[in-house]
Point group: D2
Chain length 365, copies 4
């Protein structure tokens, strides 16, 4: 249970990090859309490992294969199944690690929950699991932008540890973010982040940080009160990501330090006579429903659990306390650059599902 996301644009993902293949099935995508493997591949390439010195050296070209739901480049309205075979898996890589519960990893809790665990790698708890989400998001984007061509969204690394960019998002573009190996569009801060990542890597340590995401030109009216509010759907989407521990919509925790009179977004009429808010501290939602302003949120990722320093832990089979170190390997020491397209992917899935939910209401049109 728990491997399906969405009510009407339903995405089911599958695959273990070191199993045969990863993938997804999308049920609910309308017929008549132009879709092919190249479009999906473009999305996957942004997420794939080995893109730079700052991410894992696991070698996966992550080539996708569409198994169903598309004929001659057109969606049929039937389930779209996409698979990505695992190439650089090595079940034996992890044999030593299998003897202990690695701190911060899901080894111990997987054992508690299932009575056993995938014997190699993180199984479904690995960040590799997100490849299916990204494939599905490519489909979501094709669909949603076919209806709202102006809709666009971008995420970026706003902070790594205490190194934070203060750049306003009005001053950079998606392309600016993608030019950066760190996916931080602030060149000076980016340099500091690179140094911090390489330092941590050298120390065998890891770093966390924050990703900010903005969606522009989204339709108003998205979000289903009361339990499926737009921010609640985003929150669960983000907290379902590996290493994600926190979420805030709009100015989030910062708003808790303001008076209501400082925090309320007041309405005005713009020059086209439309209602806007002067500020956007709410992040584009009131009462769980989008107001047509930009959707803005932040997601916090802990420093990843895989470090190469000595740690205390307990052995699996005979429950002995030991000290252990992971032999230096190929893991990311900072997941944030690669988490950017994954945050975007989950946002695409949320917006698409919420749009479909809202599109069922036609009475008042």
């Amino acid at each position: 249970m728990g491997n399906t996301f969405g009510t009407l644009f339903k995405v089911t993902t599958f695959g273990e990090s070191h199993g045969v293949a990863m993938g997804c099935v999308i049920d609910g995508c309308p017929a008549g859309l132009n879709l092919n493997e190249e479009i999906i591949q473009e999305f996957l390439n942004r997420r794939k490992p080995g893109q730079s010195n700052f991410t894992t050296s696991r070698s996966e070209n992550d080539l996708c294969e569409i198994l169903s739901g598309i004929e001659q480049g057109i969606t049929l309205g039937t389930p779209i199944a996409i698979i990505i075979r695992n190439k650089d898996k090595n079940p034996h890589d992890y044999s030593e690690l299998n003897k202990v519960f690695r701190p911060g990893h899901a080894d111990y809790t997987t054992q508690l929950k299932y009575g056993l665990a995938a014997q190699s790698g993180g199984g479904r708890a690995s960040a590799r699991e997100t490849v299916g989400r990204v494939a599905a998001a490519a489909v979501a984007k094709v669909y949603l932008t076919s209806i709202f061509p102006e809709l666009n969204l971008m995420a970026w690394v706003q902070r790594i540890k205490e190194i934070e960019s203060k750049l306003e998002y009005h001053n950079f573009s998606f392309a600016d973010i993608e030019k950066s190996a760190i996916r931080c569009p602030d060149p000076i801060v980016e340099e500091q982040m690179k140094i911090a990542i390489l330092n941590a890597k050298e120390q065998g340590d890891s770093l966390g940080g924050c990703i900010r995401c903005v969606a522009k030109n989204i339709p108003a009216g998205l979000g289903e009160p009361v339990f499926n509010k737009l921010e609640a759907a985003l929150a669960t989407a983000m907290l379902s990501l590996p290493a994600c521990k926190s979420f805030e919509i709009g100015n989030g925790f910062a708003s808790t330090y303001l008076f209501g009179s400082e925090n309320n977004d007041q309405y005005y009429l713009n020059n086209t006579g439309n209602i806007y808010t002067k500020t956007n501290r709410s992040g584009g939602v009131q009462g769980g429903i989008s107001n047509g302003m930009n959707l803005e949120f932040s997601v916090g990722f802990k420093p990843i659990s895989t470090i190469y320093k000595e740690q205390n832990t307990v052995t699996k089979t005979n429950s002995q306390e030991i000290k252990f170190s992971i032999p230096k390997g190929r893991h990311d020491s900072c997941v944030l650059p690669r988490a950017v397209p994954i945050v975007e992917a989950m946002c695409w899935l949320v917006l698409t599902d919420q749009y479909m939910l809202q599109s069922t209401r036609k009475i008042y049109d």
Copy 2:
């Protein structure tokens, strides 16, 4: 859509703030539990308005009536419907307010979504909506504690604006919290909070802050990877609350400032030979699954939107910019004291549903 919470312990709530009644239907509660209106009432009383000078003066005794699912004080396994009639509603109270879109409220977005809105009060966007959740949580608690008698949870006001209690939760109890009108168990800080609230009230302004929640002795193995991880379920539960804008599990955003070597919770054997973690920065979850340690999370609430200061906005029917002030009324100027039992309620619902999901797996026992 969006008014049902949970997969197996399914709670559907209904009711507008100034409608006939609020309520909930709980589908999935097992048969054979002792349950009656007194047990539910006790829960409702902690949430009800008018408890002190620091909360709204709306007068609702919030008496519940059980319509189904219980016979002679025993649950039947059938849906439990509970209603709470609205007494102190006054549809006309709001007639002036109905002419403008109140900043920060859901008036405007409700109009965008539904093409109309409840003409009085906040409809479903009102915090009054949460009364059904609290009634359902009373049932959840009865069920879950019948299986795990040691399981207990408590939430408290940790911070209002910048006034923060640094008290460790090991040093106070549920009873200590309940003694406080602010639900802050730190007497010195509580005094400062009271002053801040009364000042804000006098100024016609409002305050936000943070609630912390801890659940002890919860079973290990709860949480459904990947999309229904325990923290993802909690996040959506909390973000579905009115005025909630942020969520963090464990040390959340704070962990983003640490190295992995500082943040990982290392395992050891306690004196009974069980595996524990020395620290609990993860908040009791790894990979979305509870590890048996205390579950800990924080929830941020914005200062509520209802303030009595002059604000700019736009009128509903003829789209004119105007300045307006809400005549001083009975609204809370700080929602946090009353939000404490609501945060707990959502946590009870999440834990109960996750327990039921996990209880379907019996192979490995």
Copy 3:
């Protein structure tokens, strides 16, 4: 679990036969519809007991109260909760019966499933449970006919035991059916049915039979392949009714006696150039999707289990075989006349939900 019907037009029902109240919550009804208690009452009145000599004499005026979701006669888009209080309940009526497992009733299986059972009447297994469905169907009809004013549906008693009407449905109307106390629009057959029912009543026995239902002018394209085909949704809707044991779409079992060349519905162009089928043996669906022809199906109801003849059974508490008779009471001896509006109700719910599912697809318009 199992008390909610529908994916987008979600109806949750609650209430035990001899509890405080019956009711439903409808989540997903769009805003802006004209709705009030009179409209719902009209539906309920068709189902309510005591309408004639041929049905139960239990006296229930079945007055409904709308608790939420409607303001000034207009739906708000929020959950609509409706309750119907039980008046003529008499928990003590059944005290003798509580000592044995009544053959054909759910007493024994309820005990097996829940470990206990409602101590009076049939609890949720009673046909009284359907009152919430009928209330919800009134809402569904208002919504669906606001979009498809020509859509109409009617069910009628086609057969009671071996007494069958051969009248073609093109020869009678909804009004003709409603004029009949038996809801059989064939006056000669109706007379025979009345006699059969009164005879069975006198004998303390019960009768089953078949209801046929036709929906005209329904939109094409309804039905979600593969598991939520239109006929699959109807089948589960009907088999969820008390005493229903069989379902067939179109000519159903009769088609199994034909060659494919006899059974296929061949296409032609009618005088407006639209595609029609010359015959409608499929009942208006191919591949689980409505084709725009009339939807037709039959539902079989067993003779109800409550009879007043002596039967063999086993006692509840001490598991002794005994012979027992139910003292003559007020039960229907033939449920079919009152089942007609219930069959229609479930059909309204299915069509509305399927329409909403289909309305999310807008690409090709």
Copy 4:
């Protein structure tokens, strides 16, 4: 939408008849079960085409590949993805047929629903779609029989057109059925069926009929009143099968011809002191809940739509009435022999899901 079956044992199927691959994803299967491709293959082999002269000559070896959810022959508790590549697809086979709406097929309704249709074969409406269900059922059986080793189920062809076997199921076994090319365990009747099928084939016509299914030693207490009753779940499962038009539980329509006093199953104590019913006209359910007796139901399949006789229809693109004939091809002229394992498959899925739903209730144990 509509491609997922089950609440806790969730099966999502995908694949078009002439696309790249068919398959399924099973979410909810517990960890720790022995499972491999051989076990699944054995199930698939019973369904695969080309088994005899009486079924289609499409050549598919239907080899399955497990992509996830299993490691070293043990289930991990994660989603199990299984694919079966289409070998003998020939998109061009159907080019002529693509010009007309074939009577009885889903061509026309697919066009109405999606605005387009798979250009070859039946897409998802093809019986080939069921291969994913059968793969999933193999997993369901492994799981359910690991808990209830005595549980077994068998289906058989009871009637083809008017040729009906009257053999009581107590007189034959699963093996007897499997020995028959027609899957009719009554040798004399089987011979008549063979002749009828070959005759129909020669005539270019098709035949329908009835399959009966019995499940023995199923646990009592399965079925979720009120909308997910056991028979309601079975009904929707069966009506979701291609060409299925009718369903009855127990003696179904036959019971409508009986008095209640004839139809009620009376209770007695067997020699071990357990409660049994003398008869089983209910098919093993009362009030939607299994009573521990054998589960029995029948499913009616229409004669399949593909016939080689001349038929009237309308062309797709320019809406002209024409007469057309399908060139003699490889289609089954009677689907029933191959539908037997599919009916069983859906029954396995229903029972497994219902068992998991019931297993969440532990209070009264």
